[in-house]
């Protein structure tokens, strides 16, 4: 069958076809669709789940692998930081059933805190890393990734980038699953990592990598015979192919699909007759550094252009035009100069990302903001939709670092800046992911901060995945529900307030103001289902009392409030879900609720 598949879907299909038994992960753009796709498949030897965080996921995958199952942990690049501890040890301990660590990198970045390069992680952990260039290649390389993992008893990193994860391609395949027998766990001293064993295994690992090099080198290939050598990998390979279209004779390409460990032979063969080398790779100069080492060790010297001498940018993602510009800079050849057709283009300003219409977080932020009006407060934020609490006019997020850091950074701020009130915001899924330990620390060490848990009963930003607080599992079936209140109480926190952010605004402000009066550690749980999940029972409309003061719009920033061509304000009934927040700020009683009949 021929089907259009997104890169992540292609990986999912291929995993299933190649007999994967256990797939676990934590959602994060651009990695999420691997598991979202796999949950549509079922088999008696196949299990898939959303785990509470990436460390948990990788450790589950490791356990399954030790029992002989083919296992995968999926995450985005920053998720790999969370899972770094088990990964580094796992490279020494080793695996039994094939284990793939799927990591989605995000050059740009489009939706991440960092642009970090997982190929560097592969060097750091001494593990092989596949770097597919397209959905089709992503589909094809799963099989060898499992086989290499099983042959050498090592986890394999499968690194893709946004433009591979989220691009689509027609792929021809047969949906037929390879059935394997899972042999079960065998007790072996190898599985218990102790310092003496770790040393012995490290020696073995270094030796293994030398052998793997040869096996993996078949996935790297040389194209063309030109004197200008381009070394590239990942999606950049296609940008290069297009940039040299029409002048192919001048160039030859070394396409690196396995960036680590890199085999000397293919590199030395490639550079033999080259006059110059150009490295085209997004993010870190991984290929550039590896190849340069090989050249140096073999006494080869030739002109090299890359990131290290400033010809290729370190930051941001590439495209064909950027690659052409790089060639133009290096070769001073007019034919690579990119000229734009239009001189006088309209400069349309950026559309700022914002909380959705009716997002309960908007209400929660404003309740706290109004309760603290006139006070000196620091608001720490976290990772999720609600990071947008920093945007105007909400402006209630002063810091954002990584998952869970709102609660812990708040404690540091409180220690160093005693005079200020510190209030942290964290989402429900993030609280389970890595907020709990921070709250434990706050209780134990008597850090008197306030933690606001914005519970919208889902993992909103990545597309409504369930989590322990929802009690639903990946297929929507019953798991067990973990109560946020009980966790907070169980830690020992006595001051707890639960608020429905949609209920009366003024009343909520008063409750929160009262709650925040003293300096004790306290937790406020704002609970209301994500605006994109519930059915809309009502919407708001503006009546003739409106003086067009635009206060509602300027205070809430709700995208359902819009201006028409003549500057008159109106409410987009398709977006509005009747939360009533804007109504609280209208001095003219000009906003009224309309119930939907059906």
């Amino acid at each position: 069958m021929k089907k259009v598949l997104m890169g992540n879907e292609a990986v999912a299909y291929s995993l299933f076809i190649n007999g994967v038994n256990v797939v676990v992960g934590y959602p994060g753009t651009p990695s999420t669709e691997v598991i979202e796709t796999l949950k549509n498949f079922q088999d008696d030897d196949f299990y898939v789940e959303w785990s509470t965080n990436e460390k948990v996921a990788l450790e589950i995958a490791a356990g399954a692998s030790l029992a002989g199952a083919r296992a995968v942990a999926t995450m985005k690049q920053v998720g790999l930081n969370v899972a770094a501890d088990p990964l580094l040890s796992l490279s020494v301990v080793g695996v039994e059933g094939g284990l793939i660590v799927f990591v989605a990198d995000d050059p740009g970045p489009h939706s991440s805190q960092t642009e970090q390069d997982t190929r560097n992680f592969a060097r750091f952990c001494n593990l092989p890393v596949f770097d597919p260039s397209s959905p089709k290649e992503a589909f094809e390389l799963i099989k060898p990734a499992f086989e290499i993992s099983e042959k050498y008893n090592l986890p394999v990193l499968y690194r893709m980038t946004t433009r591979v994860c989220h691009s689509n391609q027609s792929i021809e395949f047969e949906l037929k699953r390879e059935k394997r027998r899972i042999k079960g766990f065998e007790k072996r001293p190898d599985w218990v990592i102790l310092p003496a064993l770790s040393y012995k295994k490290h020696v073995e690992l270094e030796k293994k990598l030398q052998d793997i090099k040869k096996d993996l080198s078949v996935y790297n290939r040389v194209e063309g015979k030109g004197k200008i050598g381009i070394i590239t990998g990942g999606v950049s390979y296609f940008y290069v192919k297009e940039a040299i279209k029409g002048f192919e004779d001048l160039f030859s390409i070394l396409k690196i699909t396995v960036a680590h460990p890199l085999d000397d032979e293919i590199v030395l063969g490639f550079v033999e007759d080259k006059e110059v080398l150009i490295f085209i790779e997004e993010l870190d100069p991984v290929l550039e550094e590896e190849v340069k080492l090989i050249l140096f060790e073999n006494g080869k010297l030739l002109p090299v252009y890359g990131k290290r001498n400033g010809y290729v940018p370190f930051a941001g993602e590439f495209d064909v035009d950027k690659v052409r510009n790089i060639f133009y800079k290096i070769l001073s050849d007019e034919k690579f100069l990119v000229r734009n057709t239009f001189v006088d283009v309209l400069q349309i300003p950026k559309r700022q990302a914002q909380l959705c219409a009716g997002c309960p977080h908007r209400n929660s932020f404003l309740i706290v903001k109004y309760a603290m009006k006139g006070k000196d407060v620091i608001f720490t934020g976290d990772i999720g939709c609600y990071t947008l609490g920093f945007a105007k006019p909400i402006s209630t997020t002063d810091t954002c670092l990584c998952m869970g850091a709102s609660i812990t950074m708040a404690q540091g701020l409180k220690i160093a800046d005693r005079s200020k009130k510190v209030i942290s915001f964290i989402g429900d899924s993030t609280f389970f992911h890595s907020g709990i330990t921070g709250l434990v620390n706050s209780y134990y060490n008597r850090h008197n901060i306030t933690v606001c848990i914005l519970d919208n009963l889902t993992t909103g930003m990545t597309g409504f995945q369930p989590h322990p607080g929802t009690g639903k599992k990946i297929y929507g079936e019953e798991g067990r529900k973990v109560s946020i209140e009980d966790i907070v109480k169980g830690i020992g926190v006595e001051k707890i307030l639960v608020i429905d952010p949609y209920s009366d605004f003024t009343e909520n402000v008063n409750k929160v103001r009262e709650f925040l009066k003293d300096e004790e550690l306290g937790v406020i749980i704002f609970r209301r289902e994500c605006a994109n999940m519930g059915s809309k029972e009502s919407y708001l409309k503006i009546n003739q009392n409106c003086s067009n003061c635009k206060g509602c719009m300027q205070i809430t920033g709700c995208p359902a409030l819009k201006e028409d061509e003549n500057g008159n304000i109106f409410i987009d009934s398709a977006l509005c879900n009747g939360c009533g927040l804007c109504k609280s700020f209208c001095p003219y009683s000009a906003i009224e609720k309309v119930m939907k009949d059906d």
């Binding site: 296609f238 349309i348 939709c385 947008l388």
Partner: protein, 186 residues
Amino acid sequence: MTDIIIAGVGGQGNILLSRVICQLYTNKGFDVKSAENIGMSQRGGSVVSYIRTGENVGPIIPDNMADILIGLEMCEAARNVNKINKDSIVVLNDRFIRFNSLDFKKNQIVKFFELNFPKLRIVSAYDIAVKLDMPKAENIVMLALVCKDGFLPFSKEEILKALEQVLRPKMYEMNKILVENIYEKY
């Protein structure tokens, strides 16, 4: 080889439209590649899809190279004109979604397109979608109009087949009626 760019704002169904067009080309035997930006709260933000039918190409359309620009929203269409050239076909939805820092008026943008693109067609996809009681289907309205007017080489039957492959059954039934309506009345 055909390069198509679809520009709009989150919530207009840009990515679904891109999926359907990919399926249409795949059904015709082409190798299709496409890319879309999704992720960090694109609801209400800019959304762009690229569709390419050539071999050995990357997912992103280079500057000046797109053959067709489908603009689901005017500002977003204007934002992406660096991807097209004077010979490109531009099909523009008569929809203008304001945002706070914007100081352009709708007719300024229309004028810009009229001045620069001889192959311009402005359609009222949103108005039609609203009239047919499916305000969220301006994407499929656009598709039907674009195909009906011969800008994309697909018949009504081919559209329906692709929709059936891509959409869930209930959504397919609704969109089927929509497409039939457009071919009959618009």
